[in-house]
Amino acid sequence: MSDSRFFATLRSVALRNVVILIAVWEFVGRMDWVAGGALPGLSEILIRFWVDRGDYPGHIWATVYASGLGFLIGNALAIAAGIAFVLSPLLMRLMRGVNIAVFALPPIAIAPILVLTLSGMAPRVTLAALGVYFVTMSATVVGLSQYDTRTADLVRAYGGGNWMVMRLVRLRGAVPDILSGLRIAAPNAVLGAILAEFGGGGRWGLGTYLLGSLGRGEPARLWGIGLMATLIAGLSYAVFAIISARTLGSTRSVTLNTAIPDTIDPSRSRPVRLLIFAGTLAAPFLLWWTFIRITGVPDLISKTPLGVFDYLFLSDTSHIARGKLLAALGQTLPIAGVGMIAGLSFAFLLAVSSRLFPGFIRAFMPVALVTQTMPLVALTPLLVLILGRGYSVTLWITISVTFFPAFVLLVQGINRVPQTVLDLPRAYGASAWKEMRMVSIPAAMPYLFAATRLTVPRALLGVMIAEWLATGTGLGNLLNQSRGYLDYGMIWTVASVSVVLSVTFYYIVLAIERRTLSHYGMQQVE
């Protein structure tokens, strides 16, 4: 893979840049140049950390406990679900709605719901588990699907059935993919736990600590907590990176298998397909309803899908609720859209021009890669400190949560283009601009769509967190206010509306993506 070579050369440059960054940071911090001391120097943060050292163990333990337990539960579910989905494509089809909903739901929106219906550490563990489920589940499905069909035929030729193929060929073959899934999932678990801490009470946890320190005007402490959260997330990522490097080695596949195992049976009749579609649509709501029945929380507090519909359309106060909701959406959606478009365009422009400024990309890529392991949205309070409580903080958070993952995805995509293809236009004397137009931009298109799908929920999450913690506007604020007013109907409404919105946007992007890519004869990337 040209990928690994590319990233290997980045390592030494990265180290140098980190040193430079720390030096600049220390200088700027000491001089109080950023927003009157909102960005302290590294030494000031470390000193403050030493002063606060008694506070940390309890908070760290709470966060690590919740995210660790959530990580275990979420991944056990995800791997089991992945295996079940691969063995039964029908089940995968039926659960598709649930899977997309889990992927797209902004954790902050359902944090209050979990706090209402569960107790103690359970909301945090659940949110951490939800954060890892989708990543590990799809990694498992991908890993189990990309097996060597010839070795599977071999097992079948000796009378082995589906389960034997799963045991001897597919499970072991999926290990590298599952491990890389776990690696990405690990920081997600930490993020989930912290978001749940933001959303619902408790005394311990880094999220609680961060929120509690927000009003005190102690930038050094906030930064210390933020860095600690980043460190934990980064370490959890590193652990799985090391494990996968150890286990892989020379056991990678030696020949390329070109056959694609078939997944969906197109021979089903129309009514059956409609039935499956209806089932897919109904499954998330069914799950919601079951969740409420199982938790046994009274109807006043927990709302079923029907309860939300009643609250929003049938009850006496429904017009007030609708008015509030629409006003909040009017504030949230435009800024989420603008931030996302800005973040994506910036990432796209920077990535496709990477051949124009290779030096800059080499210097910048490590920073972008590090952000992949950071609980970025959990650092919102730090941005509030620097940017204040205006709209700009919302915008910057949205841009940063969309820009970094999109940039990494796009650069990796462009790096998959063979060098010879990149060289061809130049060999015929094409200008850099022409080369970009002919090769880099088309090559990056599928990845731009994949990045858009990936970042839609993150953008919504970023905006809602900023609104909740800082600006006091939009959906995030509505959620926070409703908690204060004990307006349970509104809490459930905001949560379900934000999930539905996120899923809808996901499908809109997917539809545009399919049309565009099939028009240009390109492959969709996951």
């Binding site: 030729a157 073959g173 030696v254």
Partner: protein
């Protein structure tokens, strides 16, 4: 012949339905291989020669007709360990050592590989991989991997051995060497062999009879008997009679 044929296909039909396209992979296919014989199936791409092997092993269902392997149904034969199989490319599991790859069929059959360690050692010796028992496929050359897959196909001491272009991925020089090795190994085993191949040289050198197929629909057009005595020496490759026979087959293939 009194004994039942080791491989018997009678009026086997198989069609593939793609997107608005129907491909007749096999139309009224008949094939009989006597016990202990070596048969080569040759023909252009898409003539259904691999399909013959896949339906014989029960990897795919056939639409109509009757298939018997050593007097049993395909599923009974494969589940009973009567058959051995080697595919194009070695198709080894990259995380298993040479001996673990060789024992894979035993595990698929639900047998205990530990009780067959002597046979595994013997096969490794037979294919000339002594000392590589614990090597991983990634550490072997293409020819060595192919020999592992031949050893694997023999681990159940099969009565009937199916090979689908087992040397397709090798270069010409390596391929000749493997042909000579395969003859030696096969003569040791008394099994019935069916070799699916693109190579006329390979087919004539190895087989007692060469079954020539054509496509659209996939069918047998002629069966050519190979008269050369065994064991055949590599010099046969440059024998004028050998060339006369390969030319004859080439002509049939091109005329159809």
């Amino acid at each position: 012949m009194q004994q039942p044929a080791a491989i018997s296909l009678r009026s086997v039909c198989k069609t593939y339905r793609g997107r608005g396209k129907v491909v007749e992979a096999l139309a009224d296919m008949n094939l009989k291989c006597a016990p202990g014989s070596f048969t080569a199936l040759i023909g252009p791409s898409g003539c259904g020669k691999s399909t013959v092997m896949r339906v014989s092993l029960g990897l795919e269902d056939h639409d109509s007709g009757d298939i018997q392997i050593a007097g049993q149904s395909s599923s009974a034969a494969t589940a009973g360990g009567v058959t051995g199989v080697a595919f194009q490319d070695a198709a080894l599991l990259p995380w298993r050592s040479v001996s673990q790859n060789i024992s894979l069929p035993l595990e698929a059959l639900g047998r205990d590989p530990k009780q067959h360690s002597v046979e595994i050692g013997h096969l490794i010796e037979l294919v000339g991989l002594d000392g590589y028992e614990n090597a991983l496929p990634g550490e072997l050359s293409g020819g060595m991997r192919q020999r592992v897959s031949i050893a694997r196909s023999l681990i159940t001491t099969p009565e009937v051995l199916f090979m689908d272009e087992p040397f397709g991925a090798l270069d010409q020089i390596r391929r000749r060497q493997m042909n000579v090795d395969l003859q030696r190994i096969w003569l040791d085993t008394n099994s019935t062999a069916l070799l699916v191949t693109h190579g006329i040289d390979e087919a004539v050198f190895l087989a007692d009879s060469v079954v020539i197929m054509q496509s659209n629909p996939g069918r047998v057009v002629e069966i050519v008997t190979v008269p050369f005595a065994r064991p055949r020496h590599p010099d046969l490759f440059s024998d004028p009679e050998f060339h006369a026979l390969t030319d004859k087959i080439a002509k049939i293939l091109h005329v159809g």
